[in-house]
Symmetry: C2
Subunit: 136 residues, 2 copies
Amino acid sequence: MKKYLDKLKKNNLKITSKRVAILELLERSGEALSPEDIRNELAAKFEKVSYPSVYKNLEDMSRIGVLAKIARPDRRLYYALCRAREDKHHHHIICSKCGKVGEVEECDLFRRKVINGYRITSHFLQLEGICSDCGK
Amino acid sequence: MKKYLDKLKKNNLKITSKRVAILELLERSGEALSPEDIRNELAAKFEKVSYPSVYKNLEDMSRIGVLAKIARPDRRLYYALCRAREDKHHHHIICSKCGKVGEVEECDLFRRKVINGYRITSHFLQLEGICSDCGK
DNA sequence: CCTTAATTAGAAATGATTTCTATTTATACC
DNA sequence: GGTATAAATAGAAATCATTTCTAATTAAGG
Ligand SMILES: [Mn+2]
Ligand SMILES: [Mn+2]
Ligand SMILES: [Zn+2]
Ligand SMILES: [Zn+2]
């Protein structure tokens, strides 16, 4: 947890009770959650939680790399805690049964400069599968 | 073009004037277009074009692999003609300047069965870059 | 303790996408 | 070519996740 809070500070994001609660929730659950999921969970802990601030917090924290944006077939927003070493290129896999998110370091694309005549500026890889718990 | 129409038939999608026009437009342009882009273009050719049928056609034709769904940062829907051999695993790259879409066959992930304990069921890779024309 | 800018809640707006229904059309079969 | 059938379509309306706006609150640094 300290690791994440330090990163907030380093990026001039204040340590607010809402942000801490979001990080704790995502750490505890291990799953990718929607803004709505998160607001509902926080509603149990706080008297008031607004959607705009949940949305903004999730967006801000994913922008600085503390959270990862997870793409799902319903095209809604999902966020998970990003647990990998920040300097190691990686992507994420989500379990389609339970939503648990794992880190995937098997990607060499960041080495490639040009593919099919295009100079690559970015790439996004999202995997889906069945985690070891759900696969038993 | 015949290749695409055959694939429609094979999948029990009727050859309608709107579908042919969408395919011709995407083939001519080479870019990923939004449903709105496409409706606007078709509006010049047909007296009436409804959004629901544009949306449904794009979705149906991408479901059978004639079109490719392209992910962009604005999270809206975009579609492009899929030009690769249908039996060859591949992904797509879009030029962030002009929107032109290219086929990318450099992906070995379909060989991997398990990563980080997850049994992989699907993966989505979307690249972005600068095409050879725009890079001059 | 003060100052200041960031954060937040609440209410309202937004707009891309979907749903619904009646009409039209492509296609298979005779 | 004519007919039957299911698919495709237009139009209007609804949906609803996300964003915008504004005034009040709060974290952090001096
Ligand atoms: Mn990560
Ligand atoms: Mn393709
Ligand atoms: Zn990568
Ligand atoms: Zn692949």
